[in-house]
């Protein structure tokens, strides 16, 4: 097994005690972090001027495999993740067929081991076929290695099924991840409901379509005392409800995505389908609330909701275009540029939201640079500006609204369990 020495870098590990980045070497041997190498390094990485962090963990992505390999597959998706600095990604079950049984979990994990450039943690469905009727085989999937359950792509429409999912998942040590969307309010909408939807003549999705279900899930979690994790929080109303629930001691956690602090509904102007996603981009006030929520810890996690789509699914009339954007390769740069550079979050807070916090919610012993931990490492350049270019991306899909944007914060080397999965330093 390879021995790697990363020298001259400044190291920050948000899983460890508070403090500034410190200049120290990081040693890797046999896929683990070690105090010192047992022999000469096979590779010495000079990280002078660079930062060394735990590898990023994405709590929410769509790898599209099996069933939609024309959008993405496990090989291309994890290559994209590695280029974005991720060493672990948790993939949602809305594949074809749906990941609602153990065989699918095995398929994903085996393929990831053979072809993946990142650790892939499957998330199982809450309900069979994500139909919102009967529970999926959650226990058998837990045995096969899922790390959470979710019907993402769809809400769990009834409060009854959500409650049962929490109760049933609890002994298997799994958290329910909730895609909050009241379909009676959201149904038929294509962008945030407001002045822009009126100007563009598009059916709107009001923010209460999200927050009403966030409120419901917080209440169920409070009642059962069991955890729920709110996926892709997009609006102030949801942030407020989660903040209040946390203050009462309800075991709720939450994630947002880079687009919800980087863009507003105005990005839909000109019927730009790259700005079409679910939940939709909201107002500047919502963006502010998302950043406040990250800053005060109401929102624990920054996830990508990486959602690859083929050109043909975006090059359409706005209402017919698919929801979602790819996110692995822009998440770190967007977060660093828009949250840390602006002084809204400390570097430590930002990194925690992409490493140790998602590890905690997925209940994985990951996201740490402690000696003995899996050698998941990100080496990042926080100074040199770079420009987002679709043509350089590793994802099979090209659906990003950030093309041409100049960012700071670039993953230059990614190491997953001691294996170099992305390398701009050689």
């Amino acid at each position: 097994m390879m021995r790697i020495a990363i020298i001259n870098g400044r190291v920050l590990d948000p899983s460890q005690a508070a403090g500034e980045p410190v200049a120290k070497p990081v040693f890797i041997e046999d896929g683990r972090l070690v105090a010192k190498l047992s022999g000469d390094a096979d590779r010495t990485v000079d990280a002078d001027g660079l930062f060394v962090f735990p590898g990023l963990i994405d709590a929410h992505c769509h790898l599209r495999d099996p069933g939609y390999e024309y959008k993405e597959d496990i090989a291309s998706g994890t290559a994209s993740a590695a280029r974005g600095g991720f060493t672990t990604v948790a993939c949602m079950p809305n594949t074809l067929p749906v990941c609602d049984h153990a065989a699918l979990v095995h398929y994903i994990r085996d393929k990831a081991v053979r072809q993946g450039k990142a650790r892939v943690l499957p998330i199982g469905a809450v309900s069979k076929g994500q139909q919102g009727q009967e529970l999926a085989e959650i226990g058998l999937m837990a045995e096969a290695g899922i790390v959470a359950i979710s019907d993402d792509g769809h809400p769990v429409e009834t409060a009854d099924l959500m409650r049962k999912a929490m109760l049933y998942a609890s002994p298997f040590n799994l958290t329910v991840i909730s895609h909050c969307e009241d379909m009676s309010l959201a149904g038929g909408g294509h962008m945030n409901e407001g002045t822009w939807s009126t100007r563009l003549g598009l059916r709107g999705i009001p923010d209460i379509a999200e927050s009403i279900m966030v409120g419901r899930d917080c209440q169920i979690a409070g009642y059962t005392g069991l955890p729920v994790h709110i996926a892709h929080v997009s609006c102030r109303a949801s942030v407020r409800l989660i903040r209040e629930a946390k203050a009462r001691g309800v075991p709720v956690s939450a994630e947002t995505c880079p687009h919800y602090f980087a863009l507003t509904e105005q990005a839909c102007d000109g019927y730009n389908t790259m700005a079409k996603m679910n939940p939709p981009l909201r107002t500047p006030d919502d963006v502010e609330a998302i950043i406040e929520g990250l800053a005060d810890g109401t929102i624990d996690v920054i996830a990508t909701d990486h959602a690859p789509h083929h050109n043909d699914e975006k090059d359409l009339e706005f209402a017919l275009a698919s929801n979602g954007i790819i996110g692995f390769e822009t998440a770190f740069g967007l977060g660093y540029t828009l949250l840390v550079r602006t002084g809204r979050l400390s570097l430590r807070q930002f990194l925690a939201a992409m490493t140790v916090n998602p590890a905690r919610i997925l209940r994985q012993p990951l996201g740490s640079l402690a000696v003995g931990a899996p050698a998941d490492v990100l080496v990042a350049d926080l100074e040199t500006p770079w420009t987002v270019a679709r043509s350089q991306m590793r994802s099979k899909s090209r659906n990003t609204p950030f093309e041409g944007m100049t960012l700071a914060g670039r993953p230059v080397m990614t190491i997953c369990e001691g294996r170099i999965t992305h390398d701009e330093l050689c």
């Binding site: 822009w196 003549g201 359409l316």
Partner: protein, 308 residues
């Protein structure tokens, strides 16, 4: 002066000067229509395609006659006969049409933004003949033409628009156009049929039809789709007519010389009583004639820009 754009996608993208130019040009065209020999050479040698993904006899006919009066070769493609139903994408369809040497492509489509999607992909000038709930710019321009002809100007006009604003591209295009030209727009509709943010976009939203119509120079009714009842947007036709019809009692509140407009087709007795529809104050038939003149003006302006 000329139009500053290749396409006519919506009023939102036009300046007040461009709107004025269209209306002035339409004055000239109206003379052509009223002449005994309706022939000009304004579009001689040009090819015009109408591509309608929604049925509309009157709008389509208006465009086709406008093209013929100006000597263009025109053809129409309707959704039922086109390859749309065979799963061909909109972009593929219009690229094919474009390759056949089309100069003006007039499209109606049920999806908002469909003309914007194709405009950058074809050489032809695209004219939006109605897209989803977004815009129907030629309708607004003919409405403004009619108002200006009757009222002598647009700045300072008080215009009441009554009905299903939410789903109406006619209301939206009129709203943008009238605000740009300095008119005041008051809207009245059931609360379920008003999209959000209208006040911040420059309209005055009124709680009742009476509030909207009081002192108005122009009263415009909008078509109500009766299917909207099934979506719980209003309870019944008779209740709608009771609270939202533009009837004689409402007209009493408008200025004595107020004109009555409707984009058609009208649900007689629901949006307005037949008496009002056919009254001396109604300019609804005139709107139809003006529609041809305005569409001639737009086609001429867009195609002459291309010759430069």
């Amino acid at each position: 002066m000329m139009l500053n754009q290749k396409d006519l996608l919506g009023i939102q993208l036009l300046s007040a000067d461009e709107i004025r130019l269209v209306l002035d040009t339409a004055e000239t065209m109206k003379h052509v229509i009223s002449a005994s020999s309706k022939k000009t050479a304004h579009l001689q040698g040009k090819s015009v395609i109408t591509l309608f993904y929604e049925n509309s006899t009157r709008t389509r006919l208006s465009f086709e006659l406008a093209a013929k009066y100006m000597g263009a070769a025109s053809a129409n493609v309707s959704a039922s006969s086109s390859s749309v139903n065979k799963g061909e994408s909109l972009i593929d369809t219009v690229r094919t049409i474009d390759q056949m040497g089309t100069d003006l492509l007039i499209m109606r489509h049920p999806q908002s933004g469909a003309p914007h999607l194709i405009a950058s992909r074809v050489r032809a000038s695209v004219i939006n003949a109605g897209d989803g709930m977004n815009e129907h710019p030629t309708q607004a321009l003919l409405d403004l033409f009619t108002m200006r002809a009757r009222k002598g100007g647009l700045a300072g006009l008080q215009v009441a628009i009554v009905g299903d604003v939410m789903h109406s591209r006619v209301a939206r295009s009129n709203l943008w156009a009238l605000i740009k030209m300095g008119a005041t727009v008051r809207l009245a509709a059931p609360g379920t049929l008003l999209p959000p943010g209208l006040d911040s976009l420059g309209a005055i939203v009124c709680p009742t039809v009476a509030d909207a119509v009081r002192g108005a120079d122009v009263v415009m009714g909008l078509r109500i789709q009766l299917e909207r009842m099934q979506k719980a947007l209003f309870p019944s036709v008779s209740e709608y007519a009771r609270f939202y019809a533009v009837d004689e009692s409402m007209l009493q509140l408008a200025r004595k010389d107020a004109i009555i407009m409707h984009p058609g087709p009208c649900n007689h007795g629901i949006e307005m009583p037949t008496l009002v529809y056919d009254s001396d104050q109604s300019v609804i038939q005139e709107q139809v004639t003006n529609g041809v003149a305005v569409r001639m003006a737009i086609m001429f302006l867009l195609s002459s820009r291309r010759n430069v």
